[in-house]
Symmetry: C2
Subunit: 332 residues, 2 copies
Amino acid sequence: MADKLYDVVGIGNAIVDIIARADDGFLSKHDLAKGFMRLIDAEEANRLYEAMGPAVERSGGSAANTIAGLASFGAKCGFIGRVAADQFGGIFRHDIRSQGVAYETLPATDGAPTARCLILVTPDGERTMNTFLGASVGFTPQDLDYAMLHAAKIVYLEGYLFDKDEAKAAFRKAAREAKKAGAKVALSLSDAFCVDRHRADFQALVREGADIVFANEKEITTLYQVNSFAEAADAALQDCEMAVLTRSEAGSVIVGEGETVEIAAWPVPEVVDVTGAGDLYAAGFLFGLTHGAPLETCGRLGSFAAAEVISHIGARPETPLRKLAKEHGLIA
Amino acid sequence: MADKLYDVVGIGNAIVDIIARADDGFLSKHDLAKGFMRLIDAEEANRLYEAMGPAVERSGGSAANTIAGLASFGAKCGFIGRVAADQFGGIFRHDIRSQGVAYETLPATDGAPTARCLILVTPDGERTMNTFLGASVGFTPQDLDYAMLHAAKIVYLEGYLFDKDEAKAAFRKAAREAKKAGAKVALSLSDAFCVDRHRADFQALVREGADIVFANEKEITTLYQVNSFAEAADAALQDCEMAVLTRSEAGSVIVGEGETVEIAAWPVPEVVDVTGAGDLYAAGFLFGLTHGAPLETCGRLGSFAAAEVISHIGARPETPLRKLAKEHGLIA
């Protein structure tokens, strides 16, 4: 698959992050569970925004962050995700394109505005996310760009988007198209609550559509309703080729290709904001995988990219990862 | 004037900053003069935005930054400035209000969108600003909030907005209303090019309307068409009570109340982005002035606030200035 145009094409939510600092008291007052993502409607988004402190806006979205990270490593990438024809949609399009990512999804000219995620960063670096999905969640199979899917080495699917029926149908269709063209399909489970709501459908998608699954400990044990990480990893390997399992500061484990590789977390002087840690881990890992690196190097690239993104506010890399990885001797 | 509701009410452009890193080659390629602000139209704003790298959005605007800085010190403030009824307008309103600033200017429901400033930050920390003034520049005397002006100890006018006839008329009216209610009027010259374009009108405004003038060396010498800083300071004192003159890393000079006070620049470990340095100097200075501090302390508070804002990306303080100033023993 060396002659494919794209290393990775991602499909996911197209979101603008609105990031503010908050203390634990603010979270309690607004009944927000620290460290989790929850979905909110337009009215609650407005209410919470009113109550929040001064904020900064940056493009986000889980798979979009991964793709931006891959592009920062120098990978050739595309992204598919739905915004509205409004100012936030313009920000999203600009930021992903200016990373060198192909992005051609047409903006919706009616309906809900572009998705936004109100992110509260507490002094411990934890991020509590409140997502109004707006235009993003209206994703349908018609939003798929087949030419882009056919031109990918890996198609990367964001679990957060696997929620509404039309979006689910789009994921299944995308997985079929990818396979038809000889691409691998990677799926990020994204969120334990989402997995819990759609367990059977997620299991079927992993079994029938995915070659590689990305998950954290909570997500993978929720998917297979088992108690231990080891049981979950075994179950995953029954369904797909490879599972890439992240464990925050305990590092990560990769099972697949007949081996189990454990990777330590990359040391970080100060954790400022953990938003995007999993997304950037996937970016580093997939950069390695699409460039012929052994699994251990893939995992180290993942840890490395996650470390960069948790060292500052926001879920997109601030330092070009290719240059940084070269300085650390991770890539030639 | 101890019983006034507001320490300072600002009038200025209501702008959302779009900030990206760029190298010197990018500036040359697009004919941008490093360190300057220039006005661009919608078409050029779109063209330049296309060419820029991934960006971050934050509220800005010169006087709005000053007012946000004052609020961060704990001052009671209001702001008057014009946005459109769009998403960027919503960001601007949220950010200034969430600082505790009163902001009641009605958004324009037709005409140009909310103003934006494309800011390119070079590796040396210099910022090159490209401003599309959009809705902001449509400011008229009808946008003035008299109750707010009458309730201020100081009304602070942003020179950048003193460009179109209607906005000029609004400034003159605001100055008259402020004086009627016993408020002082402060004017920031903002920009040497703007001063050059409207020299006679600026001179008249200083002479007839302003009690305090804020300027850098270039702006004050341009206003009086003199060669030296000393001559310019003398000329300013013929026209108003006090001139507060900033000189970047050479510190600042305050002339007024029969004395001349020189203030050293506050030391900064690393200059990351000079955007907002002058705005935050004014914030610190005016906080001191409205809280009875001697001129030297006012100047030190200005230098201190400027140092905070140039230590990070963006023109609004990231650390609450009241707390920080207490830690440094600047305020009780």
